[in-house]
Amino acid sequence: MPPAQVNEGLATLSDQLILVTVLLYLAAMIAYALELAFGRARTAVAPAKSRRLVAVGAGADSSAPAEPADEDAGPATTVPPAGWAIKSGAVAVAVSWLGWATNLGGILTRGIAVDRWPWGNMYEFVVALCFASVTVFLILLTRQPIRFLGAFVTVAAALGLGFAVLFLHVQAGPVMPALNSYWIAIHVTAAVIAGGLFLVSGVSAALYLVRNDGRLSVLPSKEQLDRIAHRAIVIAFPIWTFAVIAGALWADRAWGRYWGWDPKEVWSFITWIAYAAYLHARATAGWRGKAAMIVSLVAFGCLLFNLVGVNIFFSGLHSYADVPK
């Protein structure tokens, strides 16, 4: 028997934590942007030495274990970036971890307040998705020098959360009986994780298209952007596949068929095909590079439409995701 009682105090706390998270992500975004604008040596493709310096600059404080030998190699050739700007980058990382923590707190308190998995409606789902994308970014950041992505990921997360708070928010409460299943933990969690990874790859792909290799830029090389986008998709794609299959298994328990071309099913299928097309395109002569990146962005568009648009525009079995009218 599902519980009908909602802990109002915790639910309110959760709402406040999410608001704090939006502010923290925005602050982090500004700090990342400052670092991006002033804290990095500008890079172009041709001189290998200056590019080497980027790796050093980015890895100097927290992320990449740059070797001491490298640090000696660079500085003579280029002007080192302003000290305060590099600090701004470190502040940005700290603030995003703080935002991550309040985001997590917001999700946990909501979950405890209603005593169920906290992704039972559109609002909770979008909050979880933003959390996942920031998590993916922060985890990647501990292994690779991708701090330049920070401004874009945090602004996407802040916008997503803001959208959720303004337009999707519903009061904490129990879910429809159909959602009351352990499958919500499996199916929706997988979709959220894959969504977070796809978002990071989408940001990289967008930057790839913006990046002009011939000119000086604060962004890393196209190759690097391509690799980040590809790697994120390579991890996300099997997870997404699993999410779709878990959805089919759940549908088999709840609706009497494992696949019935409900709008959500149609669009998760389209998204899957689009990412499969990206993986094929990237491995095909003539499609590699820009064309493949465009395919991945189209796929990301399908994903966003599937996660949010389908619930708003179409009526289907997933419409109990509780979008306020």
């Binding site: 028997m1 030998a69 190759e223 609706w255």
Partner: protein
């Protein structure tokens, strides 16, 4: 994952473009066989597969925009009512049956044909490859993307043993060792694509040999699994009426619980039906609790709880004093939050005239000015508002009628019609005008709607999908890689190559470990630091993976 170009990679690692096979020239005057061959080559090419994939995705889009007959036939009918011309044109292009349309079938059949035409030859190639030995060591290992050199007394046997321990496939020469591993990548890739084909067959088999059906059952009534018992029955082409699993059940009770207060007041919390099930006509009954996510399973035929509603019970006595109707009447809810429901009672046996009633059922009635409304979906204060008619119900005309609709045009209203007649409580009786008889509201039952599904393709589809995921993970994570060792006196050179595009970074780590292990095998022990410095100077050589020094250093 990757089709043609990896085939070329598999045979010759130095060729990264993979475009050679795809530049098929159109045969001129080659006759039928030539054209067929050209057609087959084109169909199984990567480019065609990509285009078909896009078409596949694009083709599904209208299936989400327009209502589909297989999903919601009611909405399709409404579309036809609201804009008949447009609907007719859409229907000509199968827009209401996208996923069973010939053009959609054409796309996926071509795609799967293309897939099969590409995958099966590769299965053969891979099978041969699995039994091939790694190629001999190239002359200059220092020119490979990964390389290292050190001094030590490493023998060919020792190096081979070290590499074998790491599960490399090893071949040795007089002064060299060649090793390769990561065959699972292609195995996974092929497994994934073959599983997709299997999935298609499983889905197809399920559609041919399975069936679906819907039925509405009122509390206290029963159902036995025969074609005649269904309200709607959709069999696959190979399903015979005798093959239905012979189970039956009675619906003993249904309970719906709702949130009683707050902003979400009226939202359902839980549905639960108690069935008394007989798996076969001769077996004893067992009680089963049926819930939304917990279907009843009788030997693979599943029964799902998919809807519910109220069925008030009535007793109608006609003008001659005979009981003309007695029993429950299923009502359809117009509004889920209040469950204000509507239904129809048809009493063809009434004398002297047939009687028909429109009924509005209010589960939790409160007065609202001169009207009455329901404020909650639970049956806290159930009442009915009754609109009686008499006349010919038209049941003899042979035209099929909906049990939820009453055509009042040809009927005579009994008494003065009001939009808000005084509601009857349970037990109340309403006297009909013109001495037409009485109607009594005798009680409230609930009905549940059930879906039965038998799909023999379920399990095969699940297995195929699981295998596809396993294959996918293997093909995306495993790398095909080769390592060579050459000994010249005390000088040992090691070279490595990953045959997977984009896999340079993680292989660099693995290669460093391998070198360390090989050095460990030499009695002289570790001498000086061979690795990263070496590599960054030597990047100009390889043609496989154009990794620049900056990305290298950032990846380590």
């Amino acid at each position: 994952m990757t089709k043609k170009n990896e085939t070329t990679e598999a045979t010759e690692p130095s060729d990264a473009t993979g475009a050679t096979e795809e530049r098929e020239t159109r045969p001129v005057g080659l006759g039928v066989v030539g054209w067929l061959r050209w057609g087959w080559r084109t169909l199984t090419s990567m480019r065609t597969a990509l285009i078909l994939l896009f078409l596949f995705a694009l083709g599904s889009v209208p299936g989400s925009i327009y209502p589909q007959r297989s999903v919601d036939p009611g909405r399709v009918a409404r579309y036809f009512q609201n804009s008949p011309t447009e609907a007719e044109w859409l229907d000509r292009f199968w827009m209401f049956d996208v996923f069973t349309s010939p053009w959609f079938a054409a796309i996926y059949l071509l795609l799967f044909l293309s897939l099969a035409g590409c995958v099966f030859p590769r299965v053969v190639v891979h099978f041969k490859e699995l039994r091939k030995k790694p190629p001999a060591a190239p002359r200059n290992l220092r020119r490979l993307p990964q390389n290292a050199a050190f001094d030590g007394d490493l023998t060919v046997e020792e190096a081979a043993a070290r590499l074998r321990r790491d599960r490399f496939r090893v071949v040795t020469g007089p002064d060299w060792v060649a090793a390769e591993k990561g065959y699972l990548r292609e195995t996974g890739n092929l497994l994934f694509h073959v599983s997709l084909l299997a999935l298609l067959f499983a889905v197809g088999a399920g559609a041919l040999f399975g069936y679906r059906g819907n039925v509405l059952v009122v509390e206290g009534e029963g159902f036995s699994n025969t074609v005649a018992a269904y309200d709607r029955f959709i069999p696959g082409q190979q399903v015979s009426a005798e093959s239905l699993e012979p189970f039956s059940f009675t619906v003993q009770d249904f309970q719906a619980t709702y949130i009683a207060s707050g902003e979400k007041r009226g939202q359902p919390l839980d549905y639960s039906a108690t069935l008394s099930v007989q798996d076969t006509p001769t077996s004893g009954p067992r009680d089963v609790e049926l819930k939304v996510n917990e279907p009843l399973d009788v030997n693979g035929t599943l029964t799902y709880l998919i809807g519910h509603g109220y069925a008030p019970t009535f007793k109608v006595v006609d003008g001659k004093g005979n009981t003309a109707f007695e029993g429950p009447v299923p009502c359809l809810a117009g509004d889920q939050m209040t469950y204000t429901s509507e239904c129809v009672i048809k009493v063809p046996d009434a004398q002297p005239d047939q009687l028909g009633f429109l009924v509005r059922f209010l589960p939790s009635t409160v007065p609202n000015g001169k009207a009455w409304v329901s404020v909650f979906p639970g049956a806290a204060n159930p009442t009915v508002q009754i609109f009686p008619f008499s006349g010919d119900l038209g049941l003899k005309s042979g035209q099929p009628q909906s049990v939820y609709q009453l055509d009042t045009k040809s009927l005579k209203p009994l008494g003065k019609m009001s939009a808000q007649p005084t509601p009857l409580n349970v037990g109340d009786t309403k006297e009909l005008a013109d001495g037409a008889g009485t109607i009594q509201f005798t009680g409230v039952k609930e009905w549940i709607s059930l879906q039965m599904a038998y799909d023999p393709g379920r399990l095969p589809a699940l297995i195929a999908a699981a295998l596809a995921v396993i294959g996918l993970v293997l093909s995306l994570t495993v790398q095909r890689r080769r390592v060579w060792v050459r000994m010249k006196g005390r000088q040992v050179t090691v070279g490595g190559l990953t045959r997977t595009e984009g896999g340079g970074a993680s292989f660099a780590e693995e290669f460093a470990e391998i070198v360390t292990k090989l050095r460990g095998a030499t009695p002289s022990g570790p001498s000086e630091h061979p690795q990263p410095e070496d590599r960054s100077e030597d990047v100009s050589a390889p043609d496989r993976e154009p990794v620049s020094p900056s990305t290298r250093s950032s990846e380590e």
